[in-house]
Assembly symmetry: C2
Homo-oligomer: 352 residues x 2
């Protein structure tokens, strides 16, 4: 018995090469462990989380987290199921439990208790939510919007990457909290329609339209009070040009720049001075103490139908992860992107 | 009897053209007023303030202040002397009083009481201080450093444009408030030596040296906690690359970009996320309610010798202002740049 891992092979230069024979990653096969240490569990990954931050983890620069080492299993979260429990953990886990696993990109993993968080599925929820709307993605949107952006009644809130996993939650939170106007920026007509029809955004602008800057201007007649940025680049620049006085620019991500050989700063930077803009970067980990209360609120919005989630599940097993990651940077997804590592049985599917 | 004004003639494209025959400005001669309205004073400008912000006032874009209209007298402060007083203001002004005048670029001006603030010279001070260390320049440094930057004990504070009027005060305030390390960036060896020898900066880096980025790195072994930016461009970019976690970037000015056809944003922008940087723009006017207490503290530091000032006075009368403004953007000055519009008598000089 053996299982597969995906190993970080060579640094992107600067784009990720999804080829498994000569690219950024390679497949490695290892034997199944024949026993589970007393303080570990053996888990089987079913859904792998794909996150824009992953590209940064492959760059050996000072950052908020150490880069992945070449030759190591690619870092990542998964929704996994416990298949064997070490003797000291038998009161904590049962075979069949769903966990959020810090497993990395592999089919199975032997993990300590801190690396395998049991999923408690709230009413109306499902296990995969723990990796999206009720996980890091939702928490990132929550703290970024509420602690950093601080929308007030009457505010115009703009979200870039609004059809992505974090963006769509951020926009909905602004809506729930009573922003006057919530505007999304996304990369297709379908995504824009989804934001308005399904998620209650007031309007959405397709940044691939030739006249998107004009559309953005028309969508923000009272300028922008809060900008929740997932993209950086030209979109950040255009939003700075529309910054209102004393506006808050929440710098969550810069997906347009992660694969750039020469990252591009916002040219309209001088508006930071004239409009007294606050631009603030943040990392969700900094708010760890407040996770429980945030998750409670997110779960209650989900249960009440105020907050809607969407998943984009890529089939094909572990080996589809590299190409899916490339596609994530191309904006292939609407909502949380996951790779189905292993199909679940019908009985499990019902639970999901 | 007549006097001269300097009129805003044609928009810079994008650099200021100092020629008075075909450039950005032109000279206009007007008759001396033959009477002073009851609620006005007639003042004579002696020293004109030259400020980096002036270039922005010539751009017809949304900003913190309306642009100067073409055909109008160029906007600017001066240190002026009252030469005639309207009947209703006789209890407030005497002929010979020094005032900070919102006179614009002209030799004489008829002003209301709000546009001519009487200068109260504190112990150890002189009238021109009201336009520099005890005026908008000093206040900008004060609020930018203390309210926006908020240096703490142990912090490394870096100031760009450190030999300029605002930068030199900002750095000295960080020193007074107990920053661990104060580093200046300036554009010549002489300026750097001045910062260290005369003003107590720990070190200074000449950004015109080929290896200035390396010098900056060596000057900030514990990274940068507060960056007070007057320059933008490459210097802001290099400082972002050295940003410490939770650092504050005070965006006061961007002199390197004001004349740029294509302004340049900071390429190292992604560090805003990974290091959780707060970048905040501000305009000194927003702190107007706190001016009195700030001026009191600045004056006391000046009197105690903790805060040192330096002036760069350009001779040649009003008509030297356009060239002096061009030279300001080239970094010709160390300290507050002023144009001597009219010489003062020996008696007045003694008072100055």
């Amino acid at each position: 018995m053996s299982y597969k891992q995906i190993i970080y092979n060579t640094p992107p230069a600067p784009a990720i090469d999804p080829s498994l024979s000569s690219g950024t990653f390679r497949v490695h096969t290892v034997p199944q462990p024949d026993y589970v240490p007393a303080d570990k569990v053996l888990v089987r990954a079913h859904y792998l989380s794909l996150d824009p931050a992953m590209r940064q983890w492959l760059t050996a620069k000072r950052s908020y987290i150490a880069p992945v080492e070449r030759g190591a299993v690619m870092r990542g979260q998964s929704i996994a199921q416990v298949v064997a429990v070490g003797s000291k953990l038998s009161s904590e886990y049962q075979v069949g439990d769903w966990v959020v696993a810090y497993s990395g990109w592999q089919e199975f993993a032997v993990l300590g208790a801190k690396e395998a968080e049991k999923v408690i599925v709230p009413p109306g929820g499902r296990p995969t939510d723990a990796m999206s709307v009720l996980g890091m993605t939702g928490l990132t949107a929550y703290f970024g919007m509420l602690e950093v952006g601080q929308p007030r009644a009457g505010d115009t809130v703009v979200v870039s990457g609004a059809a992505g996993a974090t963006g769509m939650v951020a926009g909905q939170i602004a809506r729930i909290k009573g922003a006057k106007r919530v505007v999304g920026l996304a990369g297709s007509k379908d995504k824009c329609e989804f934001l308005v029809r399904e998620l209650g955004f007031d309007t959405a602008v397709n940044y691939k339209d030739a006249d998107w800057r004009k559309q953005l201007k028309e969508a923000t007649p009272e300028y922008i009070d809060v900008f929740f940025d997932n993209t950086g680049g030209d979109i950040l620049d255009a939003c700075l040009a529309r910054a209102n006085r004393d506006s808050r620019f929440v710098i969550c991500g810069a997906i347009s720049q992660y694969n750039a050989a020469k990252p591009q700063g916002p040219a309209s930077f001088m508006n930071v001075i004239s409009q007294r803009v606050t631009m603030k970067g943040f990392i969700v980990f900094d708010f760890a103490k407040k996770y429980p209360e945030a998750l409670k609120e997110l779960a209650s919005w989900l249960a009440q139908g105020k907050l809607r989630r969407k998943e984009h599940i890529v089939p094909g097993g572990l080996e589809s992860a590299p190409q899916a990651l490339v596609d994530l940077y191309k904006g292939a997804n609407t909502g949380k992107m996951m790779v189905e590592v292993a199909p679940v049985s019908e009985a499990l599917k019902a639970k999901l």
